[in-house]
Symmetry: C2
């Protein structure tokens, strides 16, 4: 099952050096889950071939402009391009008021429904679930209420071993039970263990998104052992006091968090406009946690 | 005196083919007057080296997203980059409500003042004046209240002819009167006509911006004889009924309007996403009015 993330924006508050404000397109089994939507996200989607028609779920972490100012334009374009199916939108309660103000004053009645789920910003919760995944919020500590998100694949059904099915003459009506892990009882009463007839699928993957926040142990349990962790790293560690003042994280702290959480891989992003090149940030995060990459525009990372 | 316009966006509602929503930076005597501010305008300003610090006046035509969704991000970035001087903002009355909603929910108190002037949308008015220019609104006919803008240079002071000043022994204390057109009375009572002592400056220039609108004769008097007319041309004329339905103009109509108004030069823009290339639109407008150009991203047109 496809599970990867395309980076649409990597900058913090102000766009610069061809870096755009935060947005990521998470593709899980050919459904795209859009995480944050800074200004220019729809232009970035065009640039990196992320199809708006595949997006049915949008997750907004908080109401600083660099995380949502592209949303109204994206929703408008979807309307103008004939979208009919509903859009599921998750974000802080006031997000809906902001959207409504825009559409009120542009005299726009969308020709599709926005199904809005207001995220709680004081406790973590399961906000979405389908056959492939669950999505939970992570309570972060920013200057305004802010949540991250953990996307966890559900354990997929077992795969059938075609050769063995033929060998044991297993009827089609047994397939679903086998996929769920049941053993097979042959016509002669012999019990064929499930493991003989099925192939173990890959372990379910998980992706955690943490932006923007002071680094804290409070959310470690939720990101423990994820396959890919995105963590903001707005500053280098020589600006720790600035990071603390603005409720952000340093590249070193992001690396240390990855170590503590035992994740497999780390992406850092949300870079301050003061960094023209990003090598220093990457090096600093890698000094704590080696398998770190820069979440920069157009890059696609497999989870 | 410098007087030119840099095109930052040329697309109508939805951005596509590297075309951005509408925005233009009008440079008059090294002050930049920003006209409309679609999503991504601040990124376009970076791309085409338009300095935000030179902008003290922003004019928004109407509240469709493709004309103002970049404004909140631009104002935020100016705040984050330490702006202190006030910003003069002109636009429909509800624009201020939209801005306030964003800053309320992001807990932002700007460290500079927005001096907002709500434009009347039922009658034309003089909305701004300084030593260089006047700015008047044009009442357009769109689906929601919409104004265009005419920027007119004031007639500049006369220039002094240094050789003649020396010849007639004109004292410095007379210079300002001469620049204003007065004659000079020499010590012996001889009247030296102003024209002898001064050089006629260039005629004052004018720029008119008309987007979005049904084409109408009602605003012809205001754009009569302007040096440069920007007029939207969303569709080609085979889609006239679509243009009328959506209150837009065709390229042919834009060209005909330029003829009727006796303007010196025409720019067309606000192109529908259905046009991958723009040659057809240009050709059609030129069939009516030869000195037409495409208002495309990054182009700078002298007024």
């Amino acid at each position: 099952m496809r599970f990867d993330v395309t980076i649409l924006g990597s900058s913090s508050a102000t766009p610069i050096y061809n870096r755009n404000p935060t947005s990521q397109a998470l593709n899980i089994n050919e459904r795209i889950y859009l995480i944050d939507c800074g200004e220019g996200t729809q232009q970035q989607m065009l640039r990196f071939d992320v199809k708006p028609g595949k997006i049915d779920h949008i997750f907004i972490s908080h109401l600083h402009g660099d995380h949502y100012l592209g949303l109204i334009g994206l929703l408008s374009s979807m309307h103008l391009n004939g979208r009919k199916k509903p859009m599921y939108l998750f974000g802080p309660p006031d997000l809906l008021k902001i959207i409504n103000v825009h559409f009120e004053y542009s005299w726009t009645a969308l020709n599709y429904e926005i199904k809005f789920y207001p995220t709680q910003t004081n406790h973590s919760e399961l906000i979405y679930e389908n056959q492939d995944i669950t999505v939970e919020t992570i309570i972060l500590n920013h200057r305004i209420p802010c949540t991250g998100f953990v996307f966890k694949q559900k354990r997929p059904l077992l795969k059938l071993n075609a050769d063995q099915l033929e060998h044991y003459e297993v009827g089609r009506n047994q397939f679903f039970k086998l996929k769920q892990g049941e053993d097979f009882i042959a016509a002669d009463g012999e019990i064929i263990p499930n493991a003989v007839l099925t192939i173990k699928p890959e372990d379910p993957k998980s992706y955690a998104y943490c932006s923007d926040t002071l680094v804290e142990d409070s959310y470690l349990p939720q990101i423990q052992n994820v396959d890919l962790l995105y963590h903001e790293a707005t500053f280098m560690h020589d600006l720790l006091s600035r990071a603390q003042e603005t409720h952000h994280t340093t590249a070193l702290q992001a690396g240390e968090t990855a170590v503590k959480a035992g994740v497999k891989k780390l992406l850092i992003g949300h870079f301050s406009a003061r960094y023209k090149t990003l090598d220093g940030l990457l090096e600093e995060a890698r000094s704590a946690f080696k398998t770190t990459d820069l979440a920069i525009e157009g890059k696609v990372f497999s989870v």
